[in-house]
Subunit: 301 residues, 2 copies
């Protein structure tokens, strides 16, 4: 059952009502996300996959979705199940269609193991072209002690019913795209100025995050979540493409069921590059994922 | 010449005086750091190196020093000179002595290239044991436009003369070690409570950073700088070893000559792990490096 242990009551009720209205709520293992991140083992450590057109922004496949696919392959190849730290360097833009993920086990330890993965697509003549290379350290989140000694606080995001999604008249991301139908994102009104031509000038983007078919979060879907909100560059007054150069995600805790809150900040846009730091909080007020990416800043004003 | 464009006058004078007192100030290319990160090309992309005992903490070689060594090898192997984003997964603890760095060019682009490097040491029977694996994207810092649109502010650190180094009665890191003689670190008094048994309880560590022989910073030495201060866990009241699992560093700007300011924060110590975010600022008030690492928390109280 979906439970919201620490959220404002109104947000919990709204989330539960939306879930109840869905004819059949998707579950972990039986959802769009799971079907579109399915892997087929060709041989030990090598997996055939199909990049779904359902997770594209404009014509490119979302980087977080690709990361989740590679995370699933590594979780199969390594002796530990959960991604603890995943570092991805993006090489070339992926297109919907067939791909292959080749993994390598780098080190196997008692509590942690480290692996590497590359995602390739095919030229017309069959030549493989590498899209992304990943280094990742895996462990078992369920084996961790429950201690929390932290100064981090959940982001101040208004209750779900005061946040804005595409159905609330908030324009979707310019030019996009299939992925918006797969995600249930409601942005903090304080960070949607870009949608009406009045960006805040602050490098901030915040909102509620869920999968549209109601599937709850797990460590794999968190790899999608960290790269799913509109870029902070929109609120900095820059429109256009913000391609990721590098993205590292730390999964710190198995997320509780219920909606997630995501806060993204950029403190340094300089020399044509910017960083985006994402924090993801679950309904139990645990900081479940932290990520940082380096991206190329859009050229437009 | 060493210039301090935006620092308080007192800090600049103190730094210049210290430099002038050094019989011969080391320079980029002629310093302890450069000698100890020298690489010898064995064949294309393969480099023999010697891990110096001068950069050890207790008996382990400092992770930032190792990163600088691997960064130098990648800078030689790749067509672009400067590290933009370096992701390192630490596998086994390194010891002083011979090692080999094997690099692979993953992708070569017009403005960015991506490479991979592994550092190996040798068992008694000559078997290679991998210590660290790195993915890195390189570019040319001098080719970047000079625009800065940022909300980041330099950390509030007292002037150099009010900060504390080993000569000011501040105990060195427990059990350490050679590296303290190679570094000129003066910590903010607000973050040295750990040294007198009164940690602040905050996940913060701040201070001035220089190399002891006066060599100015460059992109390679910044890879050392991000992992050179005492761990924030000391100020959280935990003593003992804080081994790095993963460390990603973004070099955002070529540092100006003069002392650096380093600010490290931990917001989430949970489940036996913690993150450390480091910001490095140069004397021109530019944010020159940002890093985040995931580390295992010490077991001790």
């Amino acid at each position: 059952m979906t439970r919201c242990t620490k959220l404002p009551l109104s947000s919990c009720l709204l989330y539960r009502t939306a879930m109840a209205e869905a004819a059949t709520q998707a579950t972990v293992g039986n959802s769009e996300f799971d079907r579109d991140t399915a892997i087929t083992r060709r041989e030990d450590g090598v997996y055939d996959v199909e990049l779904s057109a359902g997770w594209t922004i404009i014509h490119a496949v979302n980087g977080g979705y690709l990361l989740a696919l590679m995370g699933r392959a590594l979780g199969d190849a390594l002796p530990h199940p959960d991604p603890f730290s995943v570092s991805a360097h993006y090489l070339t833009a992926s297109q919907p269609g067939p791909a292959v993920i080749r993994t390598q086990t780098v080190r196997t330890g008692r509590t942690l193991s480290t692996g590497q993965a590359s995602l390739f697509q095919y030229e017309e003549d069959g030549t493989e072209v590498e899209r992304i290379r990943v280094l990742a350290t895996y462990g078992d989140l369920d084996s961790l002690p429950d201690d929390v000694r932290t100064s981090a606080e959940p982001p101040a995001i208004p209750p779900l019913e005061h946040c804005l999604g595409p159905a609330d008249g908030q324009p979707s991301i310019p030019g996009s795209s299939a992925i918006t139908e797969r995600l249930d994102i409601k942005l903090d009104p304080a960070t949607v100025g870009w949608a009406i031509g009045a960006p805040s000038g602050k490098g901030e983007m915040r909102g509620w995050f869920g999968l549209a078919d109601g599937r709850d979060a797990d460590p794999l879907s968190l790899l999608l979540t960290v790269d799913a909100l509109p870029p902070t560059s929109f609120e900095l007054g820059l429109s256009g493409w913000t391609p990721t150069v590098e993205l590292t995600t730390h999964i710190r805790c198995r997320p509780a069921p219920g909606p997630l809150r995501v806060s993204i900040t950029t403190r340094n846009l300089a020399g044509g590059f910017l960083e985006e730091d994402a924090d993801v909080w679950d309904s139990a007020d645990r900081l479940v994922a932290q990520s940082r990416q380096l991206a190329k800043a859009p050229r437009g004003q």
